[in-house]
């Protein structure tokens, strides 16, 4: 597939656990190449003296008391499960 950046959409989609059709992969490749070209402008910014900001506001080490409290029961937690039985989520076999 032709591309104009180092991004390989088909490969990254596999990392992200999203199946793509070939047509979709081709379209996204073109669109995201454009976006990556646009964000190249960040290379011009002088960040040599800057610390990275994970957050806009300085919040550190937020603790609350480790106290038990009511929360919804297992039955409610399972109420939206696509498949469930015996109080458990049912998924395809993982271990032989």
């Amino acid at each position: 597939m032709p591309r104009n950046s180092e991004l390989d959409v088909a490969y990254v989609a596999r990392l992200a656990r999203i199946n793509l059709t070939e047509a979709e992969a081709e379209l996204f490749q073109k669109q995201l190449d454009d976006v990556l070209k646009y964000v190249e402008k960040l290379r011009q910014a002088d960040v040599s003296h800057v610390e990275a900001a994970a957050h806009a506001l300085p919040i550190f080490n937020v603790f609350r008391e480790d106290a038990p409290r009511d929360w919804f029961p297992a039955e409610q937690a399972l109420s939206n499960a696509p498949r469930q039985a015996n109080g458990l989520f049912i998924v395809p076999k993982v271990v032989e």
Binding site: N19, Q31, V35, L57, F72, P82
Partner: protein, 492 residues
């Protein structure tokens, strides 16, 4: 006043009628439902409406509380116990919330009735609400145009008088921009001012819940109910929330307004520019002083945003894997097949695009060049705003460079859609607060299209921004104009 007139009232006015026992909470719900049924088939603001639950809540409403008996619409990305929460996505079709978000719990404590879940761009990713997998929402001022996004359903509902007010969420402008395009007030609080517990996460360091309303006073009333610390959200600031209505009514004498010179970009619609200039002049005549300021990093804001927001989204949306809730692909042959097909079939294009971009910028070998660099430039943007706010109380700009665009006009080119967020995005990166208020109309193809004025304030200075916006609004009539569909609905 007849029942047909009720839905056009502001929150403040309807609450005062309720408090004086001139109307009951049940009558309000009934009048609103009648209007929704008449108007919403054309607008498409709502995804779900639980009339029975609302009627029950109305019967036991305590109208003496600050928002007692007032129904409020909720963006369908905020959990309301027992109600659907689709996030505008197929992947959450059929999901029902098992708890109330903190904002919902707080609204209920203030007496409000959460009623109706509103349409949005899928997982709040978009600027037009066209990325919803559920339905199309139309701009009440011109049904061939978008209401803005991502809180487009909330904005259209308030604008069309089929909601008294609504909650939205704002990650890069998703409250302010649809408010501007739909001709109402939209307020984004400081990051951390309102708890995000129960808001389905898109970009956790940027997301913030806020009100969409007919007036600035209504926005302040909702803020009084929802602001404040929450032990269930570690990013909710542990700062006392002030009374947001207390300063309303103070004038603009001594207020310093900053005009960022970098915001005079090409591509601003001439009618938008004229309306903003007129609004600035109006505020000057009310006593405000104008100061030119500089935000040199403006040109980087959109690039930083689409790296930081997509990176966070790729991590947040990993939870939609078809295991615990929502959609699951049929007959998966193994776990990888279950994940891959569930996410292929469940997510729409924009969401997939952003997850892929976010995964890429966080991936080994690219993290430093993209994500780490973007975080550093984000810090520069934050510092730019901090410097500007040493000189001024608020920054003034258009909310959107253009009025509402046509449905379908921009879907094919994501980058062009992103670039329209230029004025709103930086506020989320810097964590500051901002509001959009109606400031005029553009005449386009025989339709009047609303224009929004944006005021940005420093972190935690919401009361000041609401005061300035209120003073301006009280000197204009823009917020009193109703779209043709609301006026027509009233006659029917």
């Amino acid at each position: 006043m007849t029942a047909e007139d009720l839905p056009a009232l502001s929150i403040a006015d309807v609450q005062s009628l309720l408090r004086r026992r001139e109307v009951s909470a049940r009558e309000i719900i009934d009048a609103l439902v009648a209007r929704i049924e008449a108007v919403d088939p054309e607008v498409g603001a709502y995804l779900s409406l639980d009339r029975e639950a609302a009627a029950k809540d109305a019967e036991k409403a305590n109208v003496d509380l600050p928002l007692g008996g007032v129904p409020l619409a909720i963006k369908d990305i905020i959990n309301v116990m027992g109600q659907p929460c689709t996030c505008g996505s197929k992947i959450l079709n059929g999901y029902r919330a098992t708890y109330d978000a903190t904002v919902i719990r707080k609204l209920r404590t203030a007496g409000a009735i959460p009623f109706g879940k509103t349409n949005l761009d899928e997982f709040a990713m978009g600027s037009s609400t066209e990325n919803s997998a559920m339905k199309l929402t139309r701009n009440p001022w011109d049904l061939s145009r978008v209401p803005g996004g991502s809180s487009g359903g909330s904005a259209a509902a308030v604008a069309a008088d089929i909601a008294f007010g609504a909650l939205g969420s704002d990650t890069g402008g998703s409250i302010r921009q649809p408010a501007a395009l739909s001709g109402i007030v939209g307020f984004k609080p400081t990051y951390g001012r309102v708890s995000r517990f129960g808001l389905v996460a898109f970009a956790s360091s940027l997301d913030q819940i806020g009100p969409l309303t007919k007036t600035v006073r209504d926005a302040a009333l909702i803020m009084n109910a929802i602001a404040g610390h929450d032990p269930q959200d570690s990013t909710a600031l542990n700062e006392p929330a002030p009374n947001y209505t207390a300063k309303l009514g103070e004038d603009l004498r001594g207020v310093r307004l900053g005009l960022p010179k970098e915001y005079l970009i090409k591509g601003i619609d001439p009618q938008v520019k004229a309306a903003i200039n007129a609004a600035v002049k109006q505020m000057t005549s009310l006593g405000a002083e104008i100061v030119e300021v500089s935000l040199p990093t403006t040109e980087y804001a959109i690039a930083v945003y689409y790296i930081v927001a997509t990176a966070e989204a790729s991590a947040n949306l990993a939870r939609f894997d078809g295991v615990r809730y929502g959609y699951r692909a049929e007959n998966p042959k193994d776990m990888l097949d279950l994940y891959g097909r569930t996410r292929e079939e469940g997510f729409g294009s924009e969401v997939k695009r952003r997850i892929i971009l976010g995964t890429y910028v966080l991936s080994s070998g690219y993290y430093d060049a993209y994500y780490l660099r973007a975080q550093k430039v984000r810090e520069l943007i934050r510092q730019d705003f901090a410097k500007a706010f040493e000189k001024v109380d608020a920054l003034v700009s258009p909310t959107s460079p253009v009025p509402a665009f046509k449905l379908g006009e921009r879907v094919a080119d994501p980058l062009q859609m992103y670039l329209a967020d230029i004025f709103t995005i930086a506020a989320n990166l810097a964590g500051i607060c901002g509001i959009s208020v109606p400031c005029g109309f553009a005449e386009v193809d025989g339709h009047r299209l609303p224009i929004g004025l944006q005021l940005l304030g420093k972190a935690l200075d919401e009361a000041r921004i609401l005061q300035i916006a209120h003073a301006y609004q009280q000197s204009t009539n823009w917020h009193k104009a109703r779209p043709p569909i609301a006026v027509g609905g009233r006659k029917a």
